[in-house]
Symmetry: C2
Subunit: 125 residues, 2 copies
């Protein structure tokens, strides 16, 4: 469970992150707002903390958690390569290819394409 992507794969954790984006919250507040059992909250917070998504400060018996930007920026950085992609393909080509037979068989079913005879698959070394 090392990568940032595995961390945010969990719905409850994403919920916690989204909650913290507005302002810092104590465990109890998270517990009540998200209606999840306290041990669950604590465990997910632990994962988030160790991954650097959040940090906490102690205030009497309460632990107040707040967001940290590092790991989220990391995800953002990974996405960058794809932004370049969908910027290029301003969807012009995509639409062209899909449109003609969308719903016909969708894209979960491989799309049969008509092609000029292939140059016979070369034996691979």
């Amino acid at each position: 469970m090392e990568s940032v992507f595995e961390i945010i794969a969990e719905p409850n954790r994403r919920a916690i992150l989204s909650l913290l984006v507005s302002s810092e919250q104590s465990v109890g507040e998270i517990e009540r707002r998200l209606r999840m059992p306290q041990p669950t909250v604590s465990k997910h917070l632990r994962v988030l903390r160790e991954a650097g998504f959040v940090e906490s400060t102690v205030d009497a018996q309460r632990r107040v958690y707040r967001l940290k930007s590092g790991p989220l920026k990391e995800i953002d950085a990974w996405l960058a390569q794809f932004r370049r992609f969908w910027a290029a393909h301003v969807d012009a080509l995509e639409r062209h290819l899909d449109r003609m037979d969308r719903e016909q068989h969708g894209s979960s079913t491989p799309t049969k394409i008509n092609r000029k005879k292939m140059p016979r698959p070369k034996p691979r070394r």
Copy 2:
């Protein structure tokens, strides 16, 4: 395994996506470039296809896979809320709080903070 986040949690799948960002590839090409067993490639491609990350067209015996932007944009959209966050906190406050005792105990260990006596925890409802 419904959410887009769970899909990209898998390292091999992220590798495939990153490979496809340059150009479309057949299963065999992916197999060789990423050095992973063919059934593994096919299985991950299936997951990616059903989640809408990629689409495929048939070309003789080959299946050519290419990237689709939808789900990636969805992730990007989720990240938006946090971009607003880390834009606000231009890290000014953050650095201030961390700096003083970074490495001291890191942020995986809750940071003890000095506080003026709290107004006594109100009984909850």
